[in-house]
Amino acid sequence: MKKIVVSVLGQDRPGIIAAITRVLYQADCNIENVSQTILQSEFSGIFIASIPADRSAQDLCLQLEKALTPLKQHVYVKYLEHIEKDYTFTESEPFIIVTKGPDSKGLVAGITEVIARYGANVTNLQAVFEGGDDPEKNIMIYEVDIPTRIDQQKFYEELRNRAQELGLNISIQHRNIFKAINRI
């Protein structure tokens, strides 16, 4: 059974998920995973579904476009490829990096440049920039898998230096502390 990935992006409004899932249902696709979010007024959704052998991703994309164009949504459909990661998977520990500080351009790029250089992988990023100088209104939260083989102290030091250059307050903590405190 082949699998497809459907990505939908556009201004949020009622009926988007109903339209997507109706087309998938009519095409005899079985939804396996969905992740959907709304940032400000924009809807974004990713759907992974199995697709019958006699159907193609191209046909499905046409049907989805037909259903979603009236809702002003952009659609992209591709086959799910076998997992062949471009980077070598290494043992890692999950950490949470949080920055707070005045808004300016280049904050995410500045922080992620260091994260990427050390081969750490961002698994989730939440960022809110409401502008202005109030640090509480300009927050980035990165969930990052940090490889155990790297020099972690050097990595933290570089991150802290970069944060200082960007005028940010940074904290780097193992994810388990947040789980321990907040989850039963």
Partner: protein, 457 residues
């Protein structure tokens, strides 16, 4: 996936509400260090402590860094020295205390507890010698802490020992008169002492404990206060049932931090994990105060009418939340009200809201006792013994731990200030009302029998 609310509220506790692990205390069993000559005993003790504790501070700092939670104090608790050094003389006990001080310095811990005797039912030779050695041992060392358990619910109150401790405290104060009697700040007299306290000055490793064990003391009065403030500001008419619930949830979070860090430190040191002590322990910093919680609850100050009820609610809620969060709870587990170590409580004593009598009443519903209370230097040894006896009676009858850490500040009177420095803080000297010089009741001595365990009114 964690929510942004979970992450940000956790950071808030760490960055603005003084959430930390107050102490990781390594228990070190010294019973098999016993020897019949002092040099061998001292060599054995030094080797044992420096071997087991050599990585304690480094590992605590590493684990603290990993989770972004500081482990504020790293400490050691040893087997009762009255047992370990039983055959030796007073001067030799003082040498042992100095050795413990050096061992603590060598592994860079700020306090080492266990200069301890357990005498609730009677004193053996080693106990008597240790008690005689306490004043000089504490006055001539910086890091050694002493404790003497003089009473228990099962044995009653050893009034001979109580009398002896009044004298010991006076002498210890006089020997450290230059520093306002600081030696007494390192000495606790207990009823029902637990075997696994991680907090000083009462920490020692009980004889029922393993070779080595890691016990953790959590804290977090600032976190509890802020949680109460938030509820009172954001919720419509929260009642005391609701406030108890909020304290429980907060205590849960604080305790989970201690459990996580304690277990990881223990694992990294290859030492078994003992207990989390669920105490609200203040420091002399604004925002890290147990006293401020009473003001958040609507009382003008700790000490005014209503304080005992508020403390009972607080202490109970902390235990309920903490007990759920930890697999093994022990130590003192409750709210501390050390007068000199809590800015707000010290101020309450200074402003006249909090008296020695009210402090004694509060100890019936909280974990410790008359803790870090500076009293006039001319308080007689009989009066000190009598205050201790009253405090012990509360513990013995109520089947709980109580303790007295009294500092008769040499040369100073009620209303003057005593300065101890660091975590021990500073305090106004509180008056001891209605004290008489000699106290014939105390001098009757003997043992107050263990209480009846039925007819519980």
């Amino acid at each position: 996936m964690l929510t942004d609310r979970e992450i940000i509220s956790t950071l808030e506790m760490l960055q603005n509400e003084h959430l930390d692990v107050r102490t990781v205390t390594l228990g070190v069993n010294l019973l098999d260090c016993a020897a019949n000559d002092l040099k061998t005993l001292k060599d054995n003790i030094m080797k044992r402590i420096t071997t087991l504790a050599k990585n304690l501070v480094r590992v605590c700092d590493q684990v603290g860094d990993k989770y972004g939670i500081p482990v504020v104090n790293k400490r050691i608790a040893v087997s009762p020295i009255a047992v370990v050094g039983a055959p030796f003389s007073t001067s030799q006990f003082i040498e042992i205390a100095k050795l413990l001080d050096r061992a603590a310095e060598e592994v860079d811990v700020d306090f080492i507890g266990g200069f301890t005797a357990l005498v609730e039912k009677g004193m053996a030779r080693g106990d008597r010698t240790l008690i005689r050695a306490i004043p000089q041992a504490l006055a001539e060392t910086k890091r050694v802490c002493a404790s003497v358990n003089v009473a228990s619910t099962l044995a009653g109150i050893n009034m001979d020992a109580v009398l002896r401790m009044g004298r010991t405290i006076k002498t210890a104060a006089e020997l450290s008169a230059q520093k306002d009697g600081i030696a007494c700040a390192k000495l606790c007299v207990f009823a029902n002492i637990p075997q696994d306290i991680p907090f000083m000055a009462g920490a020692y490793l009980g004889v029922g404990e393993p070779d080595a064990v890691i016990n953790v003391g959590v804290s977090g009065p600032g976190v509890v206060k802020k949680a109460i403030d938030r509820a009172l500001n954001s919720e419509e008419n929260p009642d005391l049932g609701r406030i108890s619930e909020i304290i429980k949830r907060t205590a849960y979070k604080v305790t989970r931090v201690g459990e996580l860090i304690g277990r990881e430190v223990a694992e990294n040191l290859n030492i078994c994990f003992g207990v989390v002590d669920l105490s609200l322990a203040p420091t002399p910093n604004v925002g890290d105060s147990v006293g401020e919680i009473f003001q958040s609850l609507g009382l003008r100050s700790i000490g005014v009418p209503g304080t005992t009820a508020a403390l009972a609610l607080l202490n109970d809620a902390v235990k309920k939340g903490g007990a759920f969060a930890s697999s093994h709870v022990g130590g003192l587990s409750g709210a501390f009200i050390p007068v000199s170590e809590d800015l707000n409580i010290g101020k309450a004593a200074e402003d006249g809201y909090l008296s020695l009598e009210k402090l004694e009443a509060l100890t019936s519903v909280c974990s410790v006792g008359l803790d870090m209370v500076a009293i006039p230097g001319n308080t007689s040894e009989d009066t000190i013994s009598a205050i201790i006896a009253d405090e012990m009676a509360i513990g013995v009858i109520n089947k709980k731990t109580t303790a007295a850490r009294l500092i008769p500040v040499p040369g100073k009177r009620a209303g003057e200030r005593a300065f101890f420095g660091g975590l021990l803080g500073e305090s106004i000297i509180v008056p001891v009302n209605n004290a008489q010089g000699a106290n014939p009741f105390i001098r009757l001595a003997g043992r107050i029998p263990a209480p009846i365990h039925s007819l519980t009114n």
